[in-house]
Subunit: 550 residues, 2 copies
């Protein structure tokens, strides 16, 4: 379907079936305490494409085991995922691995064994381990600890669920420049994403405020960090990506898309290397005239071969290996040229003598130099076998010059993806009016009812919208409050990106109740998701009460 799918990291030589079998015991339902919740709803978030269910309540055997039938993939990952989900299911406590566009579909049956009336089985069928792991997430959401019988139960059995994602790209942006997040905090965010079947962490590593990333070839770059502790080593970066992909029990099946935003939003680069600033008082966009500027970008995107052994015995030779995901974000937003009169930033390039001279010598206006800079950065990324992603300003300013592989990342408002796909570009939907999580006055339902395909009627053009992303810009979030600013609103977008319109169309009435349930599920798993109906996101609960109604 997608161009991006053509080079899978994990290739399966043939169709693989995963079958997971264990015994369930049927029992008469009887909740004892009336929970007040509508038991006829399907509390799975995001909602599967198709499902049917019944009226039986089953007890899940703690001796739950995994059988795999089929061949062709890394079963170790699935086994780890199974172990992890078993932990989630049985101690009411807490991921997965993949390639954009990989088949994440699965079928889940919880049914009576043929010919037997009491013994029950669960079967997950999928073509890839990733699909099977998404199925485990779904299964774990069906399991709930019953306080009366003190057993883990599944109600409304038998179940039949057939599911797959609506979009291949389901992203969350994290900004580690406005505030630094410890590696463990980032891992917690990655883990929480897997619960909502989000699959891309867009890591906005660097910005004007701080340059936290180690670049061994240019060791002064991270002098732009806030402090000597608020930094990421290359080993940290590798650890974050490994965590997302396939490490041990935390295999969450999540891509990490790195962003190195140029030429604007880059003042912090010059703390270590002031030559990158046009001049000492006017510090961005980065100096377009110097080879050093591009040598340095090239240096970041292609570390010279180094062999690093850390205590955890990680080693790698190229930054390309640290970020194996095929997309790399090059920013390109809010660049201070004469393109946008509304920007009050100084027009740094025009006002710096040697840059103005260079512009004149090359017969360029600042907007031409902006295009020159962006395209040169794209070339570097493409030479490293990355597909470049740029914020929509680059498309808005010079669509015809952009490399046709460019993925256009919408943010300024509605209507951009229709224009981008009309010109044959792929597009990611992040309309700031609805999907910027730092806009605290956007309510859960405004997030929920945003539609990435709005204004795109043509089916083949629709397929160019690879998905969407909610953006957690960091000005007013740090480790203390990032999870409750992301959640539960990111879950509203996650269902829009995963579940088909057909599956959701019947559910407009109960969506709030299901989202409140999912928020409590996040709380139970250690994620600090805020109450759903707060007027401002992340506000405290307004008074005493049940999690399920706040």
């Amino acid at each position: 379907m997608l161009h991006l799918c053509e080079k899978p990291h994990f290739r399966y030589s043939c169709l693989m079936f995963l079958i997971w079998v264990f015994q369930l015991v049927g029992l008469n339902s009887g909740f004892g305490l009336n929970s007040g919740l509508n038991q006829s709803l399907t509390y799975i978030w995001p909602l599967p494409c198709e499902h049917t269910s019944g009226n039986e309540t089953l007890t899940v055997n703690p001796a739950l085991s995994l059988s795999i039938i089929g061949h062709g993939g890394s079963f170790r990952i699935l086994r780890e995922g199974f172990r992890r989900y078993k932990r989630i299911i049985f101690k009411f406590s807490s991921g997965i691995s993949l390639k954009l566009g990989v088949d994440e579909s699965y079928t889940l049956f919880i049914d009576k064994t043929e010919g037997k009336s009491v013994v029950w089985e669960t079967i997950i069928e999928a073509s890839t381990i990733y699909g099977a792991l998404r199925g485990l997430e779904t299964f774990s959401q069906l399991c709930a600890f019953d306080y009366t019988t003190k057993s883990v139960q599944i109600s409304r059995a038998p179940w039949y669920i057939k599911d797959k994602p609506r979009f291949a790209y389901r992203g969350l942006l994290l900004d580690t420049s406005r505030h630094h997040f410890p590696v463990d905090a980032i891992k917690s965010i990655i883990e929480s994403m897997s619960y909502a079947k989000l699959n891309v962490l867009h890591w906005h590593i660097i910005d004007t405020d701080a340059f936290p990333l180690e670049v061994p070839a240019y060791p002064k770059l991270w002098n732009g960090a806030y402090s000597k502790w608020e930094r990421y080593t290359v080993e940290d970066a590798s650890r974050i990506v490994s965590f997302s992909y396939y490490l041990a029990w935390c295999t969450a099946g999540i891509h990490v898309m790195a962003e190195v935003d140029v030429p604007g939003h880059a003042e912090s680069w010059g703390t270590g290397y002031p030559d990158l600033w046009p001049n000492a008082t006017c510090r961005e966009p980065l100096d377009v005239t110097k080879n050093f500027t591009f040598d340095l970008i090239s240096g970041i995107l292609s570390e010279p071969p180094t062999f690093v052994i850390f205590y955890l015995s990680l080693s790698f030779t190229e930054i390309r290996e640290i970020f194996p995901f095929e997309l790399f974000h090059l920013g390109g937003d809010e660049v201070n040229t004469d393109l946008w009169d509304s920007f009050v930033l100084t027009d740094c390039w025009n006002k710096t003598r040697h840059v103005k001279q260079w512009l004149d010598d090359n017969k360029m206006k600042p907007k031409d130099a902006y295009r020159y800079f962006v395209l040169k950065a794209q070339e570097i990324a493409i030479s490293k076998n990355w597909t470049p992603v740029n914020w929509e300003e680059t498309f808005n300013a010079f669509a015809k010059s952009l490399n046709p592989r460019t993925v256009v990342h919408n943010w300024l408002g509605p209507g951009v993806c229709p224009k981008a796909v009309a010109k044959g570009f792929k597009c990611i939907f992040s309309n700031q009016n609805v999907w910027y999580l730092d806009h605290l006055d956007v309510s859960w339902d405004e997030v929920y009812y945003a539609e990435p395909l709005e204004g795109i009627g043509n089916k083949s053009k629709q397929e160019l919208v690879i998905g969407g992303e909610v953006c957690m810009w960091g000005e007013t979030v740090d480790t203390s409050n990032v999870q409750q600013t992301i959640w539960p609103r990111a879950a509203a977008a996650a269902e829009r990106l995963w579940s088909t319109e057909e599956a959701l169309s019947a559910d407009n009435i109960t969506v709030l109740q299901r989202l409140q349930y999912f928020r409590c599920l996040l709380n139970r798993r250690g994620v600090q998701a805020a109450p759903v109906t707060n007027y401002y996101a992340r506000n405290p609960p307004s008074g005493s009460g049940s999690c399920y109604w706040q």
Copy 2:
């Protein structure tokens, strides 16, 4: 010193010395990046009673090992604690076990080995494993990952630290009635307490709003829970206490003091047993006339022998075993009688015909019945070998009738502990003007400079103040925001309760900077502590910037 110390759970047949030795390598200091932090400060929270330090920077060997010399205690706990601290130190990531009044003192040396100039040793000396574990917390705070050398370092070596707590009781109240907290969330709070050397979790389990606790003898009591999921089984309660005391890696050395607040704050009891209400429309204080009321309190405090086997194979026979801590809190606050004219609550007892009749028959006014109720509950607790704790209203209303073992828990304002200790009662300081964490407008320094011994000059009377407690009432906190409402202000109280006035008197200038550092340490360890200087506690950071300055 304290009566409470007379019956230790963990008895040592003789003085035990714990000596922990490993090699450190001295190196020339050289931070590379100027951190902006004042390196001459001592970043240990709470501040030790005495210390000296030097100018050397040492690298901590990842092969860190533990040697124990001495005998008499459960070394397994210390070994687990050591493992845990090793994890904290070496992956920039994250407790301990005891008896109120146990010796928590320790001495920490980080010094050159005698006769050798390059090899360094760390020695922790303590009389109990609890002291040694407090020393490990201190040691872990001295270790910091250096991003330039990529090693864990200790600066300002050699170190000499001699330390012990100022107060035996250093508490935090958690309210699980206004909002339910999942067991894992409670465990996280317990773990975070150990970082600040707090040692008592006051678990306010039940209140008017909800009755979440399972009481097997009276199985309808937890029908007063918000929902069928927002409950605690007896196994959950046992798991929470075990976690605090001595389980595996999470041995945090923290007592759990349970509270069953009677006769007010108890409306939720009647959801399952409406007979406990004076009448259907006037539901508290609990009906003082019925034997059933006291049978039920007795039932909660002394479960009939049961044998419970859960998946984790926990078993116990009495609630007294679940809460082994010698203190048990019986509430007694804000009771709706004619004692307090300012209360707008209906005077339920006077207005319910059968209760009024009983009062008349027994020649009691409501305030007499209040005393009768409180003393009867105290008798039940004492018969189970608990020392009763009551909120100050019981002392204010009938000090002369109170059992002399009663610990008076101050909250209404200043000046109560002086009165209580003058009459020979022990006292816990929780003046709501400064130590109620739900008062969001109380700033970190108002918390910090509160003095539990204010107004008590006599040394022997001072010793009756067993300590203090910050209270996290739950109306506007739930799993989403409890940690950043507790922290960092609880740390301000924790230092007041741990560090001597002498140690702190020299430090009034740098306390904010040290507290900001400790807040970032909490963030690094996964605790969502809020910025320190927020006008309202738990507010988000006001803009981009370093953790160390917010």
